[in-house]
Assembly symmetry: D2
């Protein structure tokens, strides 16, 4: 299912390679000698978790259904205009972001507000509904960051 | 949107009146002289919250789309068989159950495990997909219970 | 720190061996040929997580400080009488119970309500303040159950 | 208990007046004609919630106990150096920040990362342990922001 999840992300315009620089920026001041390869490895590992695969597939399904007009009102309009008071995208993304510990919530919220790189692009594509996708991606990067932080400490204390 | 949410719940087989006895059972030993009318009032009040309306409409939409075969695989099969490792229904329902404070998590989990009354029925209808609905209803009752517990204390301390 | 966390739990009256039968009861109908040894192994693995160690040590510290009268009012009285509207114990325990996925929330809530075995005993000791401890233990068992459920599926699909 | 919670916050160096400009900055682009008075009113309303009072009092108690050296090791050192992998402060603060809906998680994470105004000051006082306090304050402002966002919509749709 991991392969399927990555394909689905790619079909919506998100490749791991797009997320590497965002994760690198986020963690470079905390982890000395951080490499892009380590970032890629952590993002890939996070996508092994069944819960994270489920959340991503569910969120993208809702985006796609809204895009195709296959949801009923008022949900359809809420998703299409990415209503700021609709919080289900944040609920799901926070579910990803905190699976490696609650410290992920800080990075999730920061990314969701600042929207660096690809995240901004997803949030402003005129033809696609990415109400869930942009938050999911923030959650994914936040989870990978938590995982790296924990691993880095474990190595030091070995 | 509250009226719409209640209609949607009814169209899926859930009326407030079905939830009243579950809430009553849950709270009667904590709140002296509890009436069914108070239970009904609390369930209705909980449905005023925009977040709760959003969660319910989103969860039911996913159930209905799975029922109609309008989701892609593997999500379709996961929802149709109510896969025990799919946790998005719990994420959403917990989002309802804790909006009136975290004490709601205990009642949510208990109801979701024991499945009293209508909840059991929803979980075992052969023709409908109620993967989300049975959890959402547990979350709703749990939220109403938390609200009552807080109100009961407030009155006593006035 | 794992050893320290286990010692701390023991000093408050909780040994892994006390939790094994609770976890076994919870999972035996889902996992064929489940052994007590598997339960013990899962509980031990869950205690490897730094987040879980932190939560347990923090919760027990609050119990002990309340016991010794070293907290200020009104917090002291709230913890001493295990006020039902104080939800911080549930917040922390849910933080444990969902670290292996949100499906843990159902088992957490169920255990926290039904209080089987040692959990009941912790909740009713007259001389100790166990406001946090009984919930933490529910969270621990719930996390171990989620971990087992995910592992069991992974093995089948290998 | 609200009065007590506000006094406690003040004794740790946080007045509502310090939080008003942070909330104002956060919301001014979303709510036309926003006034500082509205911000103050929302922060005050959020402090009426029993759950939020409990969380704040518990978090500050842990800070104060760490400051006085009244916690055991290793918890004492973890809190004193505000260990980045200790996530209990985020768990509690997120408990505040999402009580008015999950949209609060975005603002919580953003504030916790950027640390504007008083929040930065709290995070860098050399003599005080504010491991919990700075996160709690972020949660408080995030909750007040969610409350304002929901109210603003409600008024428009009346």
């Amino acid at each position: 299912m991991k392969k399927h999840t990555m394909k689905k992300l790619e079909s919506r315009g998100v490749r791991i390679a797009d997320l590497v620089p965002i994760l690198y920026e986020l963690q470079k001041s905390y982890i000395p000698n951080l490499t892009e390869h380590q970032c890629e490895e952590s993002l890939s590992a996070v996508l092994n978790k069944r819960d994270i695969q489920h959340i991503i597939l569910t969120g993208i399904a809702l985006d796609e259904l809204a895009e195709k007009g296959m949801l009923e009102e008022p949900l359809l309009s809420i998703l299409r205009k990415d209503d700021g008071l609709y919080g289900i995208d944040e609920i799901l993304a926070l579910g990803i972001g905190t699976l490696y510990g609650t410290i992920g919530s800080t990075n999730f919220g920061y990314l969701d507000k600042v929207k660096p790189g690809i995240i901004k692009k997803l949030d402003t594509t005129p033809d696609n509904v990415n109400t869930f996708l942009d938050d999911l991606v923030c959650g994914l990067v936040a989870a990978a960051a938590s995982r790296m932080a924990h691993r880095n400490r474990d190595q030091k204390s070995e």
